[in-house]
């Protein structure tokens, strides 16, 4: 099924991807093309087939509750684009500020 511009806008917002001029057409056209190929999946009847999330049989291992050394504050913030007073700085989290 082809992707409408509204869908593109909605998905871009969910994915937190900004849209620049031409992007909506770009995605609508290219994603629709890929989805056209993907839609062949619908040919298969999979009602009786269980889904595979992990293909290799491994049981989760549990970790002992033993503390290990943490990074220092300096190490934690070393790659931060903006940090103030030992914290990461971000623009207002208020949407309609």
């Amino acid at each position: 099924m082809p992707l409408s511009r509204d869908q593109v806008r909605h998905v871009a917002l969910l994915a937190r991807l900004g849209l620049e001029p031409g992007d909506e057409d770009f995605y609508a056209e290219q994603l629709s093309g890929i989805l056209r190929h993907i839609d062949r999946l619908q040919e298969l009847n999979t009602d009786a087939i269980p889904p595979t999330a992990q293909v290799v049989e491994v049981a989760a291992t549990l970790r002992d509750d033993e503390p290990r050394p943490c990074l220092t504050q300096e190490e934690a913030l070393a790659n931060a684009p903006a940090a103030v007073g030992g914290r990461f700085r971000v623009p207002s989290i208020q949407e309609d500020a």
Binding site: R16, G33, I34, H37, I38, L41, T52, V55, F88, D96
Partner: protein, 486 residues
Amino acid sequence: MSDPTHLTISELRHLLDERELSAQELLGLHLERIEAADSDVKAYLRLTSTKAAEQAQAADRALRDGSAGPLAGIPMAVKDVLCVKGVETTAGSQILKGFKPPYTGTAVQRLFDAGAVMLGVTNCDEFAMGSSTENSGYFPTHNPWGLDRVPGGSSGGSAAAVAAGEATFSLGSDTGGSIRQPAALCGVIGMKPTYGRVSRYGLIAFASSLDQIGPFTRSVEDCALVLQTMAGHDPLDSTCADRPNDVTRGLHDGVDKMRLGVPREYFEVEGMEPGVRLAIQKALNTLESAGAELVDVRLPHTDYGLAAYYIIAPAECSSNLARFDGVRYGMSEQDAQNITEAYMKTRRKGFGAEVRRRVMLGTYALSSGYYDAYYLKAQKVRTLIKQDFDAAFAGCDAIVSGTSPTVAFPIGSKTQDPLSMYLCDVLTLGGNLAGLPGISVPCGMSDGLPVGLQVLAPQWREDIALRVARAYELAADMRVEVALVD
């Protein structure tokens, strides 16, 4: 002594042990080779010469006092998706420009512990998404066998580095074919282990349920050695299995009486080049004359693999890439009215077109109302594809086919049509969906460009894939040539 930059690990080991060559001399020769060749090939994003010098020095010390590990002094290149403490690691993306991990991933650390010398970080498609390394956020890499051609991808830099004598071995990651396909296109050996064989701790995730780290080498024996060295249980990766690390078992036992499955579907795929089909046919004959029995096997859901893959991989990547938000590291658009605007600006600017395309596709496939039709459906088809392989392996020990339907294609020839690029992986992504080990070995040329033979084995049977590959290497008297020597 022939040029050390052309030799295999085992050949170099001999020279190092016999003191005919020091690790530091070997390092110097490689830096010279990189100096000479990489302006054309562009395999490396950045060199780590200081680190290399330290490691080479340590290796020489170890070689002298007899404490040398199996890879002491051996020059290695590392794909830009593997975190190394203090070394800028960017996944080929502008969004991670300048990021220096405070830790080293498990696989790389094990190779360091074995004495390997890290030359530098190799180019790749951004976040390993691509089959040509043209999606690098920095520059494309060129195929040493034809500089106007792509090296394949996403691990194109690592494949090209080994092919051009710029490293003795290198590391890549394989999510849909990203080791095997560039190995084929660059005429080197590349292997993707069973999912869960090598720890993913330190591998910048593309699609977590498909990613595996693997080696590029010049001989099957080298491939087994490097894999053996980095494989095995890791308490830091819950999906890394705790089971015997026996990949080198029976490496030289040959293929006599072995049943090799030939899946018809893999010879009828869209865009299969006649030259490639011919080279593969020749390789199969060689294996047969080496004693193997070729049997027909069926993989009936092959035509659906690409579709399932292009839901599952983007869905996982859309979630894995959510952490690139400009808050804790990487590119950041701080000039924004609010956090959402900052996210959208940063990610629009920092991600390239292919990454954005897949994040959009994956987000859509997981979004409410479409989950069942796409993501869940794809997971069920993944089950069918796994069942295809189980059935096939019931009738054979390993599956042999081409690695890529085509030889290296001209740079720019597929960038406009994503689907045509995706089709590069039709023969390899099945192995990822089913979690199988797979290896690609060079099996001759077509139009002067390398062709790769793929051997797939059941889960945890790397030993079989390696044994078949080694048998072919021997029977065909195949030796990985270093390209671009004048």
